[in-house]
């Protein structure tokens, strides 16, 4: 039987506010353990929470960027459970009245654009972190992360494949980054997700029983966990069994998920309104203020790049999704480069260097003027494309302009015909077979010979000039 996979995601994103959600401790990653805490965020008796207004701002911004309606009245609730990383033994979250609800984000699928529904976005506090010393029969707790503001974004079960889930996560990430509310650094745990998966026979309208998978810490892990869970559920059904509603834990190292608790063992969190905090009232003026402060969103950038610069959709989507790339792209084009050429450099060589050095686009040290200068040097014939690829890493290494690098390293293209002719004569003398091929009418040989001359010039000779002169030299030999 053919099955359809139904996926819903719960994404937790740490907000990049200056201070924590209920106290004035610094909100930043790293630092010595237990140095960023105070009586409020370690839950000392008598200490009371005071809501950080910026957290509400950021939550509303996220809601607006994802086309949600913003609640004019909402409240915060206590989620009660015991765990050592939770010093109050309850997490302040939002239960039945979230800050934002009923929105959507657009994703690109093979069948075109698709809207993935956003059920709700609510604000809450993060917990501390357990540290397990190897071989020790105890654990330690670092409360630095306790009280760091989070938004939880809950999607509708609108995704039908791991690829769609990936596209959704990418869309969430680029949107949150674009509006400046979260840096979404997966390796620092600032973006985490829980995955809800069910399968149903194709054509069936009713959803299958879903399982929830926790501890998914990267987009890559999300895709693997979804595939694993889909295959597991199909195998259960195919064997005549029934899928149980349960919570599972993803083990990325093993590539498997394990049962955490069944439906019967599900926690009763005893949610109730947080009595230490007043309700949140959001008026229209507040919302409009934030709406006008929103920058252009990745989806809007994509459209504009296609319309204004005639970029292919694929290029436009990738550049538009990254703050760093889109800024560099626009600056490069503004400095005179052709849009598609700029895009090719950004998505080609530049992305390659970023990936190899595990850098974000925001870390690119040069600006659009420099990239435009590099492109202009190729177009004017001052350097070849091959040389440009050698110049680029130098641009990453320091703050020198492409022109400076080319001058200092002596990389300027050789257009001096005398020098090139010397190299041609040498290459022709060393490649008699190719010369014979050319004489026998095999025009392809000219490509090979051009390559040899390029090599002899260490990439500095102008390929157009080489070819022209090669043909002349070969014809003269006939």
């Amino acid at each position: 039987m053919k099955y359809e996979t139904v996926i819903g995601l719960e994404v937790h994103a740490e907000l990049s506010t200056k201070t924590k959600i209920y106290c004035s401790c610094e909100n930043s990653f790293g630092g010595d353990t237990n140095t960023r805490c105070c009586p409020v965020c370690i839950g000392l008796p008598g200490a009371l929470p005071v809501l950080n207004r910026t957290v509400v701002d950021y939550g509303i911004k996220a809601g607006l960027a994802m086309h949600c309606s913003i609640a004019s009245y909402c409240k915060q609730d206590r989620k009660n459970y015991f765990y050592p990383d939770l010093p109050k033994a309850y997490q302040i979250s939002q239960f039945d009245l979230p800050l934002c609800s009923a929105g959507y984000v657009e994703i690109d699928t093979e069948e075109g654009m698709k809207n993935i529904g956003i059920t709700r976005i609510h604000i809450e506090e993060d917990a501390g972190k357990l540290l397990h010393a190897e071989g020790a029969n105890f654990s330690l707790v670092d409360y630095n992360r306790g009280g760091v503001p989070l938004i939880e974004i809950v999607s509708e079960p609108d995704m039908r494949s791991p690829e769609e889930a990936m596209a959704f996560l990418e869309a969430i990430k680029s949107t949150l980054q674009a509006i400046g509310v979260s840096d979404c650094k997966m390796q620092e745990g600032s973006l985490r997700c829980d995955i809800n998966v069910s399968v149903r026979p194709e054509g069936q309208e009713e959803f299958g029983v879903r399982s929830e998978c926790k501890n998914v810490n990267s987009f890559h892990a999300a895709v693997r966990a979804i595939k694993y869970e889909r295959d597991r559920q199909i195998a259960v059904l195919e064997a005549g069994g029934t899928v149980e509603q349960e919570t599972r834990r993803w083990d990325d190292a093993k590539g498997e998920s394990f049962l955490m608790r069944s439906k019967e063992e599900a926690h009763d969190y005893r949610y109730f309104p947080e009595p230490d905090l007043a309700p949140i009232y959001v008026d229209d003026a507040w919302i409009e203020d934030l709406r006008t402060s929103l920058p252009e969103l990745p989806s809007e950038k994509k459209k504009r790049y296609v319309e204004t610069y005639s970029l292919p959709k694929y290029d436009a989507g990738l550049i538009g999704a990254s703050l760093g790339l889109s800024k560099l792209f626009e600056d490069t084009v503004a400095a005179g480069a052709a849009p598609k050429t700029a895009s090719n450099w950004l998505l080609g060589e530049i992305s390659k260097i970023l990936n190899e050095s595990m850098l974000e686009a925001e870390a690119i040290p040069f600006d659009g003027k420099a990239l435009a200068e590099l492109i202009a040097m190729i177009e004017s014939g001052a350097i070849s494309g091959t040389i440009a690829k050698q110049v680029l890493p130098e641009m990453f290494a320091g703050n020198k302009s492409p022109k400076q690098i080319v001058e200092e390293k002596g990389l300027a293209q050789i257009s001096d015909e005398g020098a090139i002719m010397d190299m041609i004569q040498e290459v022709l003398a060393q490649n008699e077979a190719a010369v014979a091929d050319f004489r026998a009418g095999k025009d392809k040989a000219i490509g090979f010979l051009t390559g040899q001359v390029m090599r002899a010039s260490k990439g500095k000779a102008n390929p157009g000039v080489i070819q022209k002169m090669l043909r002349e030299a070969l014809t003269a030999l006939k």
Partner: protein, 262 residues
């Protein structure tokens, strides 16, 4: 009353670290102590004078009412029909909050930690079993129960709805009265340990005072005579929302009148 007004003047106002405090101007509490209460309208809610109230207590409160009339205040009966439910609502809401507030005493971060625990769950169980006293455990269990899924709507939510009705009851009375005069407790003090076996009997003694906590109203209690055994009787003055100055004025007048002394 001067002491009371002095302390209140010092502690009143917005506390930046307490989100439940209000940002409103602090009234002139000392200035409210005029020593007179002519024209003040004082309500005697009939629900506070039922047969469950000790006659000695009732007499003391009624004699305070007479003093007020003699000073030119208008005293009249009023009614707070939702008061019957205040005690239940109070114990459900306060126990629910207590069950959550006290959960932090789990032996992890601070306070008492039980010895010889074999794992995390054991640590939580033993610490809480050994560390909490009987009455605290009773309230934690009651509070946990009323917040549990399946019981929340019937207990906690209903208690909160009742709370709203009680607030409305008081608000209605304060449309026509400046303050309310009641006993502080339905009986005078009992012997130590006398009612410990029957917690409901003990909770009932709170019946006169819990309603103001539920409704968020200012109230004060002042001594007002003794019973036959010489044990002190207290009267309670309840004011409208944020009208602490009104009850201070009324209490000071009674104090100056020779009542309410030590």
């Amino acid at each position: 009353m001067k002491d009371c007004a002095t302390v209140l003047s010092a502690i009143c106002g917005k506390d930046a670290k307490d989100s439940t405090s209000l940002s409103v101007p602090t009234p002139d509490f000392m200035g409210a102590l005029t020593g007179e209460c002519k024209g003040m309208k004082i309500g005697l809610p009939k629900e506070y004078f039922s047969d469950a109230v000790d006659p000695a207590v009732r007499d003391a409160v009624l004699s305070a009412a007479k003093s007020y009339e003699a000073m030119g205040a208008e005293v009249a009966e009023c009614t707070l029909p939702m008061l019957d439910y205040a005690l239940e609502a109070y114990y459900l809401i306060s126990s629910a909050e207590a069950s959550s507030n006290l959960a932090r005493y789990d032996g992890v971060r601070y306070g008492f930690r039980a010895e010889g625990c074999k794992d995390l769950e054991d640590l939580f169980l033993k610490t809480r079993s050994e560390g909490f006293g009987k009455e605290v455990k009773r309230r934690i269990m009651l509070g946990t129960f009323v917040l549990s899924s399946g019981y929340y709507d019937a207990y906690y939510k209903k208690a909160q709805q009742t709370r709203t009705l009680i607030c409305q009851d008081f608000a209605r009375v304060f449309e026509s009265f400046d303050c309310i005069l009641t006993p502080t407790s339905p009986c005078t003090a009992w012997k130590f340990g006398e009612k410990s076996a029957d917690p409901v009997q003990m909770y009932l003694a709170d019946i006169c005072t819990v309603s103001v906590n539920i409704a968020g109203l200012p109230a004060l209690s002042m001594p007002c005579g003794t019973d036959a055994a010489g044990l002190p009787v207290g009267v309670q003055l309840i004011g409208g929302r944020l009208r602490d100055d009104v009850i201070l004025r009324a209490a000071y007048a009674l104090e100056q009148n020779g009542k309410g002394g030590r």
